[in-house]
Symmetry: C2
Subunit: 413 residues, 2 copies
């Protein structure tokens, strides 16, 4: 947790409403940090459904394996999240830690261990001492209340400089339902199914299959479309919980993803994911610029995504943005190395709406002073038009600064 | 060209012998830099054969396209290399520049334009004014001499901090033949077929097909096995020239790659490529550590290469090395994200021979002080044993420092 808040932090932080059926509490369990909270317990009412997407890493963390194994039942009563230690690459000890944490939580909440979901973030490769949760989780279960959303988002931070929350309210049938989300993540961000850690809660009565379908389609253009440093985490976890409490207000129970009554909800759900994902990009380690890369005219959307990611992950493009340099040559390089169909002589490139390159060469109307001026903006949009087809995609990233190197050159030590 | 030489620069710089049939000269043509040479002319005797490998970028530079088109004839009389401007993403102007440069060189040397090979390095996207070579190339052709190898290597530098040369002498039949090479490159280095610019010359009488075969097999574990920043250049070019002059000393003419008399030469040729490639990694922009990544126990060599590259390109691994932190958790992350077969619980990881992780967890004998001590070494070897099969590979990279960001945050401006 840095003392300097990212200059890209949202200025408009929402009031987080309560979600009927969800209670939260945080504590300082002394996992790694001193003088700050590092454990979050969310307690959900009986009947809560759950869905999740996780890292595609071949070396996933113990909590990721725990959640995957429990997800099939589609039910949840508790979520325990700790920061300071990722419980990843911890062998048998890691597995024992997850089991012990779940037992402690199940006892505190009064449920079975299979109803407990876990996530951990922080250092990789150090054993996590789960006995530190002894007593702590019981106290949290007793004191949990429906507010505390901001405290919850703070307890799960690592190198984040601000807590990330988002909320939306939408009609489901004739009832008003609420969606609350939180996320953490600032480095090791190149999600492949989900980003570091994010948790979304709703009181809508959705089956776990519907929730899973919403997550799967929602994540593609939100968390999967951001990258900070191309490094996919061992611990990426996005869990969604639906308490169903809004059924008491007349919200219809939805058990099919194709139900037309779900449309507005699906849009709102997606907007919460998009908001959280953008906040993660805005808190990229050392970031001073939010970078939106738009690729259009590709042969397919998938091809556009690969080219956009090649640009967004290029250290040379990212350092140029940090230097406020509209270096389209490096964008050309990144398009060229992506390995996707591209024709140099049809390529056009714009920075913040000013076209700098056209048909494979510098734009004849190029004006250095004009471009330099827009590069001072904290938000930079790089738009690449390939001129080949109708494939279009958008990804978010940030610049690469000396602070990124400083943060990561002495994080563990 | 930096004023501070990389601390990883070789201390032992070889005396470069003459190669019969090759003359070199350099000049300051004022392409971009002030007060330094920026153009190299190599003049080769009649009968010189040529082979080349180039970037796989979909947006190659104009000189790369020129060389590809001329390579089929297998003959060369002149090589013109300039620094300061890459003549890449320059549209029709770029094509005209290569044609004009080749005409000027052909006239100066007394050959056809098809015998002229070109390479350019420097800024992308700016037109290259080839009229600057007028007169300059004629003077160079008149003054070219068999020495000047170090001057040649200096003229082609951009952000390099030291000139890169290598030489080997080997028997071909009963004759002594020589191989001289030079290379440049410090950023935008993740070669895919060849690195930025490298030129190798020999007096051995080899057909262009033999030379091409030597290049193709030689490049795989040398230039293709280094990465500085994962950014593949638009201009990567590796050309080899064989004058055949050693035939006068009795060297046999080799026209088949399978000729057993070629064995010792092939080894020496490969060693020159390996030497030059390592020097490029040693001059990585801002580098303070040379990093050798060895992956063994993979299912195949190709799988080992992908995992090694995932580690070598990870910003988090590279910043950890810069911070002298044996952060094996980030190595696990990079193994996991590679998408290749890996079993977390069989993974072992060593830094400079000290095993820090074993069977998917911290090594029981782990000693922080001991590991911290070896991380101070300017050369760091990361060895990952996957325990799955016999696939093994090795790649070279460097650490990621604040200086990399500084160099690339204001290179163009």
């Amino acid at each position: 947790m840095s003392t300097t808040v990212s200059p890209l932090a949202p200025t408009d932080v929402p009031e987080m409403p309560a979600i009927a059926g969800v209670k939260l509490a945080t504590a300082a369990a002394g996992i790694r940090y001193k003088g700050r909270t590092d454990v979050l317990l969310a307690v959900m009412d009986k009947g809560t459904t759950v869905a999740g997407v996780f890292t595609k890493s071949k070396c996933p963390s113990a909590p990721v394996e725990w959640c995957r194994a429990k997800l099939g039942r589609g039910q949840a009563r508790a979520l325990v999240v700790n920061s300071g230690n990722a419980n990843a690459f911890t062998g048998k000890t890691g597995k024992q830690s997850t089991a012990l944490t779940a037992q402690t939580a199940a006892k505190a909440v009064g449920c079975t261990t299979a109803d407990v979901f876990l996530a951990s973030t922080g250092v990789i490769g150090e054993p996590l001492d789960a006995t530190k949760f002894d007593g702590v989780l019981a106290t949290l279960a007793d004191t949990a209340t429906p507010d505390h959303w901001m405290d919850a988002a703070k307890a799960i931070m690592t190198t984040d400089t601000f807590p990330k929350v988002a909320t939306a309210t939408v009609k489901l049938g004739k009832a008003k339902v609420t969606i609350n989300g939180m996320a953490k993540g600032a480095g090791m961000i190149a999600p492949d199914m989900a980003t570091m850690l994010s948790f979304v809660f709703t009181d809508a009565p959705l089956s776990s299959a519907v929730l899973q379908s919403l997550l799967k389609s929602g994540v593609e253009d939100t968390f999967n479309a951001i990258t900070i440093d191309s490094d996919t985490s061992t611990s990426d976890t996005l869990l969604a919980f639906a308490t169903g409490a809004a059924a008491d207000d007349g919200a219809p129970k939805i058990s099919r993803a194709s139900d037309p009554r779900l449309k507005a909800f699906a849009r709102a759900f997606q907007s919460v994911l998009a908001d959280l994902a953008e906040q993660v990009a805005r808190d990229g380690e050392g970031a001073r610029k939010l970078v939106e890369v738009i690729v259009e005219g590709a042969t397919t959307k998938n091809s556009a995504r690969k080219i956009a990611m090649s640009i967004a992950n290029s250290p040379l493009v990212k350092t140029a943005i940090a230097g406020e340099d509209a270096n389209w040559g490096r964008v050309v390089m990144a398009v060229g190395k992506a390995g996707e169909p591209a024709n140099r002589d049809k390529l056009s490139i714009s920075f913040n709406g000013i076209r700098v390159a056209k048909s494979g060469a510098r734009d004849p109307s190029y004006n250095e002073a004009e471009v330099s001026e827009v590069m001072k903006n904290p938000k930079i949009q790089i738009k690449v038009a390939l001129g080949l087809g109708k494939g279009r995609d958008r990804v978010l990233t940030c610049d690469l600064t000396k602070e990124y190197v400083a943060i990561n050159g002495d994080y563990r030590s």
